[in-house]
C-alpha cells in the first residue's frame, strides 16, 4: 500500500470509576478533560485539532465540544452509525480516512460515559419509577426503525444486554461443550491484568475462578463476573497524518488496517434478531470482517503479539477468538483454558488493561488506548517486543477492528 497511513500519536483518559460515582462533573466536561489529556500526550495544542469523532450515539456532540474547547475550525465531525460498542474502532477508522484524504489533519476520537447522570443501559425505556397500578399495556408507536425492531424483543423482557448475549453463548455451549469455567478463565485473566493497572476500577480487587463460579447468576449462562463493569469515565485518542506523526512527542503508532461492518441480515445482532444465519448465530458475527482485515493488512492471527478484544461479556470474547482465527470454531473454550490470554506467558496476551470486565466500561475506546500503549511500550502489563496489536469493538453486533503497529 503506497498511501501514507494515519497514525495515533496520543491517548488520554479521565479517572475511571464505578457507575454513578461521577455526579459533580458533566459528561461533556469529562470528554473535554480526556481530549485535552490525549492532545497533551501527543505534544500538540488544541489549536492543532480540526476534527472530532465518536460512536454509539455519544451524547456529547462534536459541534458543542469543538466550541467548548475553542477549536479554531471544525473540519471533520463524525459519528459512526453502528449500534453500541461495535463502533469504537470504526470511529478510529473514520478519523484515519479523514486524515488520509486531507479532510482534516488532527482528529480526536472520544467517548464519555456517565450513565449515573442518564438512563442506565438495559433499563426499561423510561427513568420514571413504575406506577403502583399500571394501565393495561397497549401497542405503542415506534418512532424509529431501531424501536420497531426492539418491538420483537422488549415485550419478552429482552432488554438487558446480559440476557441478549447469553443467547448465542448458550448455543455455543450446546454446540461445542463450552463451559462456565472456561468463560470464567477469561474473567479471571483480565482481572489479573487489571490488578496490575492503577487506572482500573478493579485494580485492587483480585478474583479467583471460585469467586467467578460463586457470583450470582444474572442471565444464564452469564454470572455477574461474566458481565462487564458499568463505569463513569472518558477517554480519547489522537489520530493524525504520517507526516505530523514524525514530530510527535510520543512514539507514534501506525494504523496498519481497519475494517467495519456486519454480515448479511445481521441488523442489530442477537439482541433483536432471531434470524441470523444458523452458521453465524453462535459466533461474534465478525469472521467475514476479520478475513477482510487480514487480507488487506497482509497479516494473520499468528502475527498478532497482543490483543485488546471488546469484552462486554466473556462469551463474546470466546466467540471473537474463533472469528479472528486464533483458534478453530468451537475450540475457544480449550484455547482460553490453556492460559493463552494471560499477560504472563500466554500465546495471545489479551486485554492487558483489564478490559471492560475489569478496567472500565468506556464502550471499548479504552481498548484502543491500551492497544496504543501496548505497542508503544507503556502498558502496565507490557508484552515485550510487541509489534502488532489487534483491537476489536463489540461482537454480536455490527462491529469494527483495527490493527496497530509499532513504528
Amino acid at each position: 500500500m503506497s498511501r501514507p497511513r494515519a497514525h495515533i500519536v496520543g491517548v488520554g483518559e479521565s479517572q475511571y470509576t464505578r457507575w454513578g460515582k461521577i455526579g459533580d462533573v458533566t459528561e461533556h466536561a469529562l470528554a473535554c478533560q480526556a481530549i485535552q489529556r490525549a492532545v497533551a500526550d501527543a505534544g500538540l495544542s488544541m489549536d492543532d485539532v480540526d476534527g472530532l469523532a465518536s460512536f454509539a450515539d455519544d451524547r456529547n456532540e462534536a459541534v458543542f465540544l469543538a466550541a467548548e474547547l475553542g477549536l479554531p475550525a471544525l473540519r471533520f465531525a463524525n459519528m459512526v452509525w453502528m449500534p453500541g460498542g461495535g463502533g469504537g474502532c470504526a470511529a478510529i477508522s473514520n478519523a484515519a480516512m479523514a486524515v488520509e484524504t486531507g479532510q482534516a489533519e488532527v482528529v480526536v476520537v472520544y467517548r464519555s460515559l456517565c450513565q449515573g447522570q442518564f438512563l442506565r443501559f438495559g433499563s426499561p425505556l423510561s427513568n420514571d419509577s413504575a406506577p403502583a397500578d399500571p394501565a393495561p399495556p397497549t401497542l405503542q408507536q415506534a418512532n424509529s426503525l431501531m424501536l420497531a425492531s426492539m418491538g420483537y424483543a422488549l415485550p419478552y423482557g429482552l432488554i438487558m444486554a446480559a440476557a441478549a448475549y447469553a443467547l448465542p453463548t448458550r448455543r455455543h455451549m450446546h454446540l461445542y461443550g463450552t463451559t462456565s469455567e472456561q468463560l470464567g478463565r477469561i474473567a479471571v485473566t483480565f482481572r489479573e491484568h487489571a490488578n496490575r493497572n492503577p487506572r482500573a476500577v478493579m485494580s485492587g480487587r483480585p478474583m479467583t475462578l471460585a469467586d467467578h463460579q460463586a457470583s450470582p447468576m444474572i442471565a444464564d449462562p452469564h454470572r455477574l463476573f461474566d458481565c462487564c463493569l458499568e463505569s463513569d469515565g472518558a477517554c480519547a485518542v489522537v489520530v493524525t497524518t504520517e507526516e505530523r506523526a514524525r514530530d510527535s512527542a510520543q512514539r507514534p503508532v501506525e494504523i496498519l488496517a481497519s475494517e467495519q461492518g456486519a454480515p448479511k441480515g445481521y441488523a442489530f445482532g442477537p439482541f433483536t434478531n432471531a434470524n441470523i444465519a444458523d452458521e453465524l448465530y453462535a459466533t461474534g458475527g465478525c469472521e467475514e470482517m476479520a478475513n477482510r482485515l487480514w487480507d488487506k493488512s497482509g497479516l494473520g492471527p499468528s502475527d498478532v503479539d497482543v490483543a485488546q478484544l471488546y469484552d462486554h461479556f466473556t462469551g463474546c470474547v470466546l466467540m471473537q477468538l474463533e472469528d479472528y482465527g486464533f483458534c478453530k470454531r468451537g475450540e475457544g473454550g480449550p484455547f482460553v483454558e490453556s492460559g493463552a490470554l494471560s499477560w504472563k506467558g500466554g500465546s495471545l496476551p489479551t486485554n492487558t488493561h483489564g478490559g471492560c470486565l475489569s478496567e472500565a466500561y468506556i464502550h471499548g475506546l479504552n481498548h484502543v488506548v491500551e492497544g496504543v500503549r501496548s505497542v508503544r511500550g507503556d502498558s502496565t502489563s507490557p508484552v515485550q517486543y510487541a509489534e502488532v496489536c489487534l483491537v476489536t469493538s463489540a461482537a454480536c453486533v455490527p462491529s469494527s477492528a483495527i490493527l496497530l503497529g509499532r513504528k
Binding site: A130, P136, I218, D220
Partner: protein, 145 residues
Amino acid sequence: MSERFFPDSMPAPLADTTTLPWWQAAAEHRLVVQRCTSCEHTRLPPAPVCSECRSADSAWKEVSGRGKVYTYTIVHRPIAAGQELPFVVAVIALEDAGGVRIISNLVDVNPEELEIGLPVELVWEDMSPDLAIPRFRPTSKEMPR
C-alpha cells in the same frame, strides 16, 4: 382473557406501519410470518422489502406455532415490577414457517428441564383486550382443551 404469565408492567411492544399488521394478527391470536409473493422467502420481523429478491410484494402466512427451542437464557433480574423470577427468554425455531425463528418466552417450564431442541407450542397471553403476546410452552405440558 387468557391465562396470565407476566405482569401488566412488562414493556409494551412498539410498532410502525410495517410491523403493525403482525401485531393486529396477534391480537386475533394468529401467529403470522411475512412471505415474499415473488420468491417465497419468509421473513420476520416484517420488512418493506424481501432481502433475497428485493421485491416489495408480500403476504401474511399463518403458522401453527409449533417449534423447537433454538437457544435460551434464564433471566434472574426483574424487568417489570411484580414479575416472577427467574423467567426464560428463548429463540424458537418455528416448524412450518420457512425456517423463521422468533424471540419469545417459555412459560410453564421447569428451568431444570430446559434444553436446546425442546419441542414447544404457542400459548397466547392477552395483556389487554387489544394486545396479545405470543409465548411458548413445552409441548409435553399441553393442557387439555
